[in-house]
């Protein structure tokens, strides 16, 4: 079994490396630097790390000030607080002026686990996706998180990175180039598209494997950038397969599933059956990450089952 790591680890690795290469990289955190994996950056670059205390609103606005002073700040907290509590700061001061601020929402999704609904961010992609100028990236494994963090730092403008504490093997092929805004066909197929983002991608790949054993050819699309959505990749894949299941550990309202539905819905030529797997308009609750994923049908069997059921409706 490959080594399991978390996307937040890939983020922390990238941040440390970026700090060495680029003196403008700065980090603000809200009393969670172990959990957000900014601790090694803090140790290496104490002059560019600013502990803001438990004050996410102040943290985000301060990051804006750092960016206006010429730095490239990464603002960190749990995804639920960063995007929820500080939403108005992100709206007015990050997104509206397209400030060069990077937002790293950690422990996102129901895979946050035991802390329950208050700490499980199932709306963050929806909130951030609704903001003009905002880019939303949901890496699927630690290596992809490392690449996404680097890409976020290199581009100008706001980026929301959705990071998880769910242990994941690196499935990303070495040397596969990463580009924000470019979806990736991670497994080619003809019968159904499995479009996934984030740490659930691994289960989508396993589901495709299982479906293959039954003679169903599933294509797996890694939509790591939910905004700007790679609409042409979505339409190409769905046009080929004629059916799509979206998979995310996020509310089915406003996230990847909605984004894909918007694109398909406005495409006059496509009558593609769609099934959105995710958290169905409800809050999270306490439990282990795996228990919660199972409860919401986000298992290998749940994904494969959704694909099978969808194929029955296909014209």
């Amino acid at each position: 079994m490959a080594e399991l790591k978390e996307t937040r680890d890939g983020y922390g690795d990238a941040l440390l490396q970026l700090g060495k290469e680029e003196p403008r990289i700065a980090v603000v955190d809200a009393d969670l630097f172990h959990s957000t994996r900014t601790d090694r950056f803090a140790e290496a670059f104490p002059d560019r790390f600013f502990e803001m205390g438990i004050a996410e609103q102040d943290m985000v606005s301060t990051a804006v000030g750092l960016s206006l002073g010429g730095l490239i700040p990464f603002a960190n907290s749990f995804a639920v607080f960063l995007t929820g509590r500080a939403f108005d700061q992100v709206r007015q001061q990050v997104a509206l002026p397209a400030a060069n601020v990077k937002l790293a929402g950690s422990s996102a999704g129901i895979t946050q686990g035991p802390d329950g609904a208050t700490h499980q961010s199932v709306l963050d992609v929806s909130l951030m996706r609704s903001l003009p100028n905002m880019c939303v990236v949901v890496p699927s494994d630690p290596e992809e998180a490392r690449l996404a963090t680097r890409a976020a730092a290199e581009g100008d403008g706001p980026v929301y990175l959705r990071l998880s504490r769910y242990p994941t093997p690196v499935r990303r092929e070495a040397n596969r180039p990463f580009e924000i805004g470019k979806a990736e066909v991670r497994r080619a197929g003809n019968d159904v598209t499995l479009a996934a983002c984030g740490v659930i991608l691994g289960r989508a790949l396993e589901a495709a494997e299982a479906l293959g054993g039954e003679g169903i050819s599933a294509e797996v699309l890694n939509v790591h950038t939910v905004k700007p959505l790679d609409a042409s990749a979505v339409l190409t894949s769905c046009g080929k397969t004629g059916a799509v299941v979206t998979i995310e550990e996020h509310s089915i309202i406003g996230g990847l599933g909605s984004a894909v539905a918007e694109v398909l819905g406005e495409d006059a030529d496509s009558h593609i059956p769609l099934r959105r797997l995710g958290v169905a308009d409800t809050f999270g609750e306490s439990g282990t990450a795996d228990e919660l994923l199972a409860k919401h049908g986000l298992t290998v069997e749940g994904i494969a089952g959704a694909a099978r059921a969808l194929l029955k409706t296909k014209a």
Binding site: A26, D47, R48, F50, M52, G53, A55, Q57, D58, V60, S61, T62, A63, V64, G65, L66, S67, L68, G69, G70, L71, P73, D88, Q89, R91, Q92, Q93, L96, P97, A98
Partner: protein
Amino acid sequence: MPVTEPDLRELEKRATEVRLQIVKAMGPGRFHHFGGSLSATDVLVALYYHKLRYRADQPDWPERDRLVLSKGHAVPAVYVCLAMCGFFPVSELATLKQLGSNLQGHPDMRKTCGLEANTGSLGMGLSVANGMALAGRVAGLDYRVYALLGDGECQEGQVWEAAMTSAHYKLDTLTAIVDRNELQAMGRTEEQMSIEPLAAKWQGFGWQTWEIDGHDMGEICDALEAAAEVKGRPAAIIAHTVKGKGISFMEGKPGFHNVMISEEQFREAASGLEAKIAALGG
């Protein structure tokens, strides 16, 4: 730099000219934030015409001082100062808040030359100013950062998060100024949600604090000077002001926060200010 008597007279005249331009830009028949723009005018004039270090022809000069207008609704007063100080043509003031204008209802730094931050939703500006001061420290630049807050705005919790941050990081390149005009949108601050004892609050948060008459140019300039001399902690100036200052029928009266004035009121306001400019030797 020390301020002389002739300087003060000049600043007073400028402030009256700025008030007149504010009223002209707002005009009759449209809703505008008259009260809070006029209460903050003298402080803004002291900053733009005396204290701030900047280059109007190089607005992104890295060493410039920065002003963050946290009470973003007073931005017409800043627009007039920026225009009169050469950031953009004075003629543009006539487009205030119109569709397609660079002069939005609340500050948009991407649209207006010379603005340093986006504000409007209240309570956020001091945090941004903190970030700018920290960035200056990282870069080894000695610019100063000013944040102008409303008194009603001090009801926003983030103001106090930021006040903690400024003191924690000993931001002595930062001066916060509270425009203490005692009125907010719906009435008196002390009736809506009391903020007193305001100076004691800032002191309690670790700030060196002054209370001044925010319409007395000498006191404003002295306080800005003293604030810049403080070492090891941030400086706060509570500027006691009159909402609607300079227009007799508005002064100190609730109901002129965001309001539309008539043609007749407009003429009265403008002629009063013109007469004052004439009296000041304009």
